[in-house]
Symmetry: none
């Protein structure tokens, strides 16, 4: 249903428009505009202009502006969550799972920074976020993560004497803040595609490395 965060849709959409194509255009345009100006500063007319459709058509597909944001959340976030939960259910060591997830998230940001900005920054500010459904959706991310960590503890890959919840928060928080600092452009990211890809992979590995091995070295300098 939702485009995966991991797949980049082809942009060569020309001649014969498929069903529901305008709706999709509105969602995509909304993400762009929300990411650029923030939800509250984004006017519906901005969205319509970005989507190159008439003003009123937005209201043909969505009840109001709030519902656009909620829809983005529901359709995009769930795809994102599904991918993470799939990794968690899959094989591989915790290290591999964590690297996969970190890479997934950072790559999503690399390819669709606006999606991530909106999901991370806008949604939690929206009034709809107070709704149980959305709170629960975020909780699902935490839980998926806790499950991965706890799985590692049970299989002996991770030491058992730390709180899986704190561990999950630490890992996700690291990725979150890295993304935030990237959004804020604190630090410089390579422009060129290959270099950028390598950069993000390196960051992902470092996060996992610190998460697994700590910062004091295997020989325990501290």
């Amino acid at each position: 249903m939702a485009r995966s965060l991991t797949a980049v849709p082809s942009e060569d959409e020309s001649a014969p428009r498929p069903r529901g194509e305008k709706r999709e255009r509105i969602l995509e345009a909304s993400i762009q505009v929300f990411a650029r100006k923030g939800f509250h500063r984004a006017r519906v007319s901005d969205i319509a202009a970005e989507a190159e459709i008439a003003y009123g058509l937005v209201y043909h597909y969505f009840k109001n502006k709030d519902e656009i944001l909620a829809t983005i959340f529901e359709e995009r976030w769930s795809g994102f969550l599904d991918a993470i939960e799939a990794i968690g259910r899959g094989p591989g060591t915790v290290r591999n799972q964590l690297v996969s997830i970190a890479t997934l998230i950072l790559n999503a940001f690399r390819l669709r920074p606006e999606w991530v900005k909106v999901l991370v920054l806008e949604i939690q500010r929206s009034s709809r976020f107070a709704e149980p459904a959305q709170q629960q959706a975020v909780a699902r991310l935490f839980e998926a993560f806790e499950r991965i960590v706890r799985g590692g503890q049970e299989r002996g890959e991770l030491r058992p004497d730390f709180d899986a919840r704190v561990g999950a928060a630490l890992f996700l928080g690291a990725i979150d803040l890295v993304i935030t600092s990237l959004v804020l452009k604190v630090g410089e990211i390579p422009e060129e595609d290959q270099a950028q890809r390598a950069y993000y992979l390196d960051v992902a590995q470092q996060i996992v490395d610190i998460f697994l091995n700590g910062t004091t070295g295997a020989d325990g300098t501290a």
Copy 2:
């Protein structure tokens, strides 16, 4: 001028009002309202009602609504930053410094959750945040943190083979997300004061512990 995030202001503000007392009331009320409704949803009249003053008076003390947020940021954030930089310049091992900082931040949230919500969630969404002055203020936090980490690396307390910037992001991100999850009430926090204090200290120590020692144990299971 600014109340420190680390000190709890006395609440016995009664009888003869000092100079600038109304101004302070407006700032404090703004924090409460911004935290509750978000900056954009907060009306000037809400702030005035919270501060129990006429809303025209807000414009005696501040040029406009944006300036209130900017002022909050400048006065509150700088106090916060000073405290962290002081810890960084002070003595003690990296471990102690990190525990101090984590405790500082978590305690600030414990005592003044609205302050932290506003500083973390609202300010980066405001248009003013695009201003160099504020971007720089955030950068200062990262730099203060990098300095601490790098100092630890130079003194041999931390291993030298990880990027201090990633390390800083990981640590701060962990704290940030723990706070966010607390905001979202994912997980239950003790109600009673002593237990709450203990809970936050425990969380701070676990974060530091994972940051320093990793999650795989001294015997390197992974």
Copy 3:
């Protein structure tokens, strides 16, 4: 062309749809919706939904929403007026004519309250009502009535020393307000059909009785 207000249309409209059947459905649906929500609050889409057709189709049969109301007025009102004028031209004492008319009107309301509501309440509020054609149509009702009253005066059935126009207004106004009070459900109307019919006939006769004999009695107490 127009259904008469006095005849109840058969409801067994099924299988093979005749020409103009959709047009009629739209008119009937419009009356229902206008009566329920008022002309301005009624959306074209409401009408289409009530008629169970696509709302674009409305514009095949009518130029715009105003024209629907105008058509209702022209087709329904004229049938109504014809019936009244026929009674006026017919034989019988004034008393019989008045009872016939009062019964006609009250029965119309009994059987098709929505029609009457729309004719009475909506049409005079619409901008189209300002048009001479419609003003004239209402004038025709007054004139038809004045003619009946004046005829009674000429034949000596009614005393000659009152203004026929005021008399007409009094009689019609009485019926109008009785209807309005019925609309407002001030007073209780029998549910069962026979009782309801009897109730309305009784009301009609009382109106005529007061109109003819006054309220002070034959012995002239006042």
Copy 4:
């Protein structure tokens, strides 16, 4: 509280504006505009222009456009009703009471036709009219009238063998329709003030006369 329908306020409102004067201006302007264009066609900007105030001030005094109409009803209608109930409670024969009331209503229309138009035509079309409070207010008029009629029956001034409710509806309906036909300018009304006053008095007396004596003459021609 409400200006009486029977008293014409002085229009020489100049220099120092009293409290609540703007609110009153908005109400009066609304009546003018509602009477001229109808409630739905009346724009809030029309009201503001008519009242010569800024757009937004309307919302300082009223929650929305609906509330303006409801306020008009509550404040104007109650004054009107009080006057009628006072006449009913007062001394005098039924004839005198009825003439007083008919004159009151017709004079109100003569002096403030817009008030009457709005009270009679607009209010019953508004969505708020469905509210019990307003239905009840209308019911009060009917009841006040029934009480007068029934009082006349009990004192032997009116014959007892007709339904007071029908009698009330007949009398009020006559006045209502006379007003409506005046609104619609069916028939010509004298322009000059004295002649106009005499004309309305004459109409009032004729209505009462027919109501009391009927249209068949004391000697029973019919």
